[in-house]
Amino acid sequence: MSAPLLDIRDLSVTFSITRQGGWPWSAPHRLQAVRGASLTLAPGQTLGLVGESGSGKSTLARAIVGTVPASEGQVLWRGKDIVSMTAEQHRNHGRHVQMVFQDPLDALNPRMTVGQIVAEPLRTHFPNLSKAEIHRKVGAMMERVGLLPALINRYPHEFSGGQCQRIGIARALITDPELVVCDEPVSALDVSVQAQVVNLLQELQREMGLALLFIAHDLSVVRHISHRIAVMYLGRIVEVAEAEELIENPRHPYTKALIASVPIPAPKAERARHRPVLQGELPSPMSPPSGCVFRTRCPIAQPNCADAPPAVQKLDDTHWVACPYHANTDKPVQI
């Protein structure tokens, strides 16, 4: 693998939640949304990030973009740590990392025209550009994402969800970033539009050499677009592998359950296959289980899983799993 564009090392994000009914000075609750996450992303690659709601996917993405402060660890961008940057350096860094959001209409200021929205990153990072130049670039970018440049003076509420997402993508790409973080960019769209947006992203990635961090809870979409996939559970990354390898040969019991939950679009095959369904709910991130956070729902949990967080094991150069018992997954052990 080439030198990574992004190298995340032991990143943790902790939120302080004010105690209800407590004194102003009483210590707030700590919520560890992301714990000890390590990932790398090479230029031009797509890393898919999957996990159920509340697993910390979005928080991890926001820590990379910098809108949520990391409490521990490093986010190295071409070797430079962006966690320890000053606010000013961080603002300048914003040019290289952009974000695409889940709810396309919520991500566009309703009082601004499409032209103003798409031009905002340009105006921020290249204040010397002339109006004509900005207008030309915005028009070209709109065309590139499949919008008529003539719609430049329209307002977001005059567009459909898919079009709004295209506007969001145009805004993200206007400064020629190297990484675009897509936080569930297609889950608010209907299926036919999802495909259009995913294909657009892939196309733009090829043309512009973008790296993508693609968050979704739809495994089939992630599999389609990603080179590598990381699986998160309750703030921890439990497995990372090449996309095909992860889908075909999942090792972590949680990944297996996740893949089993994807329905096969063929009723007979669907009814015939064995589906290990996870029992119970996601534990509260305010008081996570000791040791391995997945042990409360794990079909192969052992008594000593409660002792310490499982070490990350390297299966081969690209496949990592955080479960010491991944080999005997197929033989459920009764405790």
């Binding site: 809108t67 929205i117 921020t124």
Partner: protein, 304 residues
């Protein structure tokens, strides 16, 4: 086939004009009859205040010596004497006096609302956007200022520093922005969670640019509605102060002062001294309330 192609060409070349939320709101506002009537009344009152001095046959300071002895009969409203609205107890032309009172009262109302819009909105938006400790300190300051009875402060200011128009503005300015700051902060807190604010932060837009470019334009709907409802309450404050005899000083006058003078003469059979300023006072307040209502319906169609 031909036609389709040319339409497509048009679409591809000529930039289309979008319909902004403001344009939508304007259309809704002009469909509201009560609001449009209110607006026309307000424009008429404003024209009255601006044009009045040029059409009044009498100056507001000159005393008509012919009337002075017998205001009850000679000072009646009449077209022949040129006292269209009659005269006041001193024989001064009431039309000219009402014009002057309208100017002052509108000025007080508009200055008060303007201070509250500018100071209150910025203060509230800054407190809400930065949040945390800054928000806490800034809003506690507002709470403390709010707990002081404003009428007391106003009266004290006017007594200590002398009665002047400037002191009146200062006093009204001091209290008018507090409510607005709270409203703006509350709205900012809901806006802060929007993804477009996060997008701007992720891009690296400066905090104050975010406040000015993203937060304030989205606050403005609520702020404008509240401001139009604030103007009449400012006029009422001023009228009350003037009614107590602490507001504007002779020879300046305002609606409150005129109503006060008229009320004092009520028993002498010179009712016009009360009715004319009162009429203007009432129609202006109604005008503002209807316009405010219309704006609220136009700007927040969901909240009706």
């Amino acid at each position: 086939m031909f036609a389709t192609k040319s339409v497509a060409d048009d679409l591809a070349t000529a930039p289309l004009k979008g319909r902004s939320l403001w344009a939508d709101a304007r259309a809704r506002f002009f469909h509201n009859r009560a609001a449009v009537t209110g607006l026309i009344v307000l424009i008429a009152v404003a024209c009255f205040a601006i044009m009045g001095p040029f059409i009044a046959p009498w100056n507001n300071e000159d005393i008509d010596w012919n009337v002075l002895g017998n205001v009850q009969t000679g000072g009646r409203p009449s077209l022949e004497t040129g006292h269209w609205f009659g005269t006041d107890a001193l024989g001064r032309d009431l039309f000219a006096r009402t014009v002057q009172g309208t100017q002052i009262s509108l000025l007080v109302g508009i200055v008060g609302a303007l201070i509250s819009v500018i100071v209150g909105t910025l203060y509230g938006a800054v407190a809400g956007y930065f949040g945390g400790r800054i928000d806490n300190v800034m809003m506690r300051v507002v709470d403390v200022l709010m707990s002081i009875p404003y009428m007391f402060v106003l009266i004290l200011l006017l007594v200590v520093f002398g009665r002047s128009l400037f002191m009146l503005f200062v006093g009204i300015g001091l209290v008018s922005w507090l409510d607005m700051a709270r409203i703006a902060r509350g709205q900012t807190l809901t806006l802060k969670g929007k993804a477009y604010i996060e997008a701007a932060r992720a891009t690296g837009v400066r905090p104050f640019t975010i406040i000015l470019r993203h937060i304030i334009p989205n606050l403005l709907g609520v702020v404008i509605v509240y401001a139009t409802l604030l103007v009449p309450s400012m006029i009422i404050y001023e009228s009350f102060i003037s009614f107590l005899g602490l507001g504007v000083q002779e020879p300046l006058t305002s609606w409150g002062a005129l109503i006060n003078d008229g009320a004092a003469e009520m028993t002498n059979g010179t009712l016009w001294m009360l009715t004319w300023p009162l009429l203007f006072f009432v129609i202006t307040l109604f005008g503002f309330f209807f316009v405010g209502d219309g704006l609220r319906d136009a700007l927040d169609p969901k909240d009706r």
